[in-house]
C-alpha cells in the first residue's frame, strides 16, 4: 500500500472516531470501566500474593532431632538400643548411654541440616540448638512461665532438643516434603502448620482462577463494545462504503479506517485507565498505610508499565478483532446493495 493511502486511511480512522464522537465517548467510557476493573483485579491479586508470600515465609517447620534430650525424655531410649553385648560404655548420671541417641554432636546436627537443605522444596534450614531454643522460648513467654522453664532447666537440664528450622519454597508440596523430613534418620518429630499452608495455596489458586475469569469476561465485554461502535460507524458511513466499492476500493482499503478507529478507542481508553488507576491506587495505599501501618504494598510504578501494556493490548485486540467481526459481516455486500442495508 502506498504511503499516501496509509496517511489518508489513518486520517479517515480519526475522522470516523470524531464524527461519531458521542458513540466514541460512550464506548471509551465502558472500555475504561473494564480496564480499570482489570487493573484493580491485578493490583489486588498482586498485593494479596505479596501478603500471602510474607505469610508463607513465616510458616516455618521445626524438625526436632533425636539428640541427648530426646533420649532423656523419651522411653524410646530404652527400646532403641536393647542392652546388647557391645554396651561396654558407661551410662551417665541420668542412665543414658551415647548409643541411645542418634545425633551426638553439633557437627552431626549440622550435617543433618544440610541433608534437609538438599531436598527439592526446601528453601532454607537453620540449626537451632537446644540452648538457643530455650533462650528464645524464655524470651517469648511471660514472666511466670519463664520461671517454670528455668526451674525445669535447673532441675533436669534443658528440655528442648536441637532442631532444624525449615522454610519451604512451594506450599503446594508442603505435605510431601514434610513426610520426607519426618522419615529422615535423626529426626524425631516435626512441628508444622500444615493447614495454614494448605489454606494459603488454596487462596492463591482461588485468586488465580478468579483473576482469569474476571479478565476474560471483561475482555469479552471490551470486544463487544468496540465491535458495536464499529458497527454503528459502518452503518453511518454505508453510503461512503458503497461508493468506495463502486469505484474499486479493495476490501482492505475499506477496512483500515475502521480498524484505526477501534485501535484509537482502545489506546485512548488505556491512557485514561492508567491515569485513573494511578490516582485511585495512590489514594487507597495512602489510606491503608496510615491506618494499618503496613508498608508492604506494591508500588504502582512497579506495575504501571505492565498494566499499560495490558491495556493497550486489550485496546488493540478489541479494535482489530471487533472491527474485523463487523466488517466481515458487511463487506460481502456490494456497491448498491450496501447502500440498501
Amino acid at each position: 500500500m502506498k504511503l499516501s493511502s496509509v496517511k489518508y486511511l489513518t486520517k479517515e480512522g480519526f475522522r470516523n472516531t470524531w464524527a461519531n464522537r458521542l458513540m466514541s465517548v460512550a464506548s471509551v467510557g465502558v472500555l475504561v470501566a473494564c480496564m480499570v476493573a482489570i487493573g484493580l483485579a491485578i493490583l489486588i491479586s498482586e498485593n494479596a500474593k505479596l501478603a500471602l508470600g510474607n505469610l508463607e515465609k513465616q510458616n516455618v517447620v521445626m524438625a526436632y532431632m533425636k539428640d541427648y534430650t530426646w533420649a532423656f525424655y523419651s522411653d524410646n531410649a530404652k527400646d532403641a538400643k536393647p542392652a546388647d553385648s557391645s554396651s561396654k560404655e558407661k551410662a551417665d548420671k541420668n542412665g543414658i548411654k551415647s548409643s541411645d541417641y542418634v545425633i551426638h554432636t553439633k557437627e552431626e546436627a549440622e550435617l543433618l541440616c544440610s541433608e534437609i537443605e538438599q531436598l527439592d522444596n526446601v528453601e532454607s534450614v537453620e540449626y537451632i540448638s537446644g540452648e538457643e531454643g530455650l533462650k528464645s522460648m524464655k524470651e517469648g513467654v511471660l514472666k511466670d512461665q519463664e520461671q517454670y522453664f528455668s526451674f525445669l532447666d535447673e532441675k533436669y537440664g534443658n528440655p528442648l532438643s536441637g532442631a532444624a528450622k525449615i522454610t519451604m519454597k512451594n506450599m503446594e508440596y508442603f505435605d510431601a516434603t514434610l513426610e520426607k523430613i519426618e522419615n529422615m534418620e535423626g529426626i524425631d518429630v516435626v512441628q508444622s502448620h500444615g493447614d495454614l499452608a494448605e489454606k494459603i495455596s488454596a487462596i492463591k489458586n482461588g485468586l488465580a482462577i478468579a483473576g482469569f475469569w474476571i479478565i476474560s469476561i471483561l475482555m469479552i465485554i471490551s470486544l463487544v463494545i468496540v465491535s458495536n461502535t464499529i458497527r454503528i460507524t459502518m452503518y453511518s458511513r454505508k453510503l461512503e462504503i458503497s461508493i468506495m466499492k463502486a469505484v474499486g476500493a479493495t476490501n482492505s482499503f475499506v477496512r483500515i479506517p475502521f480498524i484505526v478507529e477501534g485501535v484509537l478507542l482502545g489506546v485512548i481508553s488505556a491512557v485514561l485507565s492508567e491515569g485513573i488507576l494511578y490516582f485511585c491506587y495512590r489514594v487507597a495505599t495512602e489510606a491503608i498505610t496510615k491506618t494499618l501501618g503496613t508498608t508492604d504494598i506494591i508500588m504502582y510504578s512497579e506495575l504501571a508499565p505492565v498494566l499499560f501494556m495490558i491495556f493497550v493490548g486489550i485496546g488493540i485486540v478489541a479494535g482489530v478483532v471487533g472491527s474485523a467481526i463487523m466488517i466481515s459481516k458487511y463487506l460481502h455486500k456490494e456497491g448498491s446493495e450496501f447502500a440498501a442495508i
Binding site: L239, V247, S336
Partner: protein, 242 residues
C-alpha cells in the same frame, strides 16, 4: 487499461469489443427471471442507450456488467475481464476500469464537491498532487470549476449529478455506466448531462446509459438496445423512433 486479451467478434465501427454477453441468463434468488439468453457486443467508443419498460431487466443488465450480480448461465466479458471467472478479490480491478453514475447521485453530504470527487482517487491510492490536478480538471470538464468548495446540499439536482459525473470521470475510465442518470433531474438538465456524456464519448470513452426519457433517445442519435421481459427485443445502431 486492462491488458487481458479479448476475441474480436464484431469488427464494428470504433474498434474492439468492450462488453460481450454470450447466452447470458439471470434468475434472482427468489426465482424471478430477470434476463433470458442475452447476446450482445458493445464496442470501444460506442454510446448506447438501454431502454425498456419497468421491470424489463435494464438495471440487472447494468449490474451484471459492474459485477454486482453474477450471471447464472452464459459468459460476460467486460474490458477484458471474464466475469464468470473473476475472483471476488479482483472485482475492484474491474471496477477501476469503469466509472459509475448513479440515479440518486450518491454524493457524501458532509464532504464538499472537491472532496466528493477526490474520494474516488483516494480509493485507488493516488497522491495528493495528482488528486488536486485531476479533480480540478474533472470539475472544469463538467462546468463546475467554481463550485469546488460548495457542499452538495447547496447545489441543484443537475449540478449534483454533474459532480457525480466528474467523480466517474476522474480516474479516466474506459467505460461509463449510468443507470438512469437523468431520472432525478429536470428535462433541461437532462439534456445537458447527456451532452456532456456525448462529449466524453467523442474522446473515445464507451458510454452505456439506461433511460426512460424518449426525447433523449430521439434527439441524441445513438445506438439503442431495447429490453422487454428480460430479452433484447430491438437493437438499433442509429437511434431514432421507437
Amino acid at each position: 487499461m486492462s491488458g487481458q486479451s479479448v476475441d474480436i467478434t464484431s469488427p464494428e465501427a470504433n474498434g474492439k469489443p468492450v462488453i460481450e454477453f454470450k447466452g447470458v441468463s439471470k434468475t434472482y434468488q427468489n426465482g424471478t427471471h430477470a434476463l433470458n439468453d442475452i447476446n450482445i457486443t458493445i464496442n470501444q467508443g460506442e454510446f448506447v442507450f438501454v431502454v425498456g419498460s419497468s421491470g424489463a431487466g435494464k438495471s440487472t443488465f447494468m449490474k451484471l456488467i459492474m459485477r454486482e450480480e453474477k450471471a447464472n448461465t452464459g459468459t460476460i466479458t467486460v474490458n477484458g475481464f471474464k466475469l464468470n471467472k473473476l475472483k471476488r478479490k479482483n472485482v475492484p480491478l474491474l471496477r477501476r476500469t469503469m466509472g459509475i453514475v448513479f440515479q440518486d447521485f450518491r454524493l457524501i453530504p458532509k464532504m464538499n464537491v472537491f472532496d466528493n470527487v477526490a474520494f474516488a482517487m483516494h480509493v485507488v491510492g493516488a497522491s495528493g498532487r495528482e488528486i488536486r490536478r485531476e479533480v480540478s480538471k474533472a470539475l472544469s470538464a463538467v462546468g463546475l470549476g467554481d463550485k469546488a468548495r460548495s457542499m452538495p446540499n447547496e447545489l441543484s439536482g443537475g449540478e449534483q449529478q454533474r459532480v457525480g459525473l466528474a467523480r466517474a470521470l476522474v480516474n479516466h475510465p474506459d467505460l461509463i455506466i449510468a443507470d438512469e442518470p437523468t431520472g432525478n433531474v429536470d428535462p433541461n438538465m437532462s439534456y445537458e448531462i447527456v451532452s456532456m456524456l456525448t462529449a466524453i464519448n467523442k474522446q473515445g470513452t464507451t458510454v452505456l446509459m439506461v433511460t426512460h426519457d424518449h426525447s433523449l433517445v430521439r434527439d441524441f442519435k445513438h445506438r439503442v438496445i431495447m429490453l422487454d421481459g428480460g430479452r433484447i427485443v430491438a437493437d438499433n445502431a442509429a437511434g431514432g423512433d421507437d
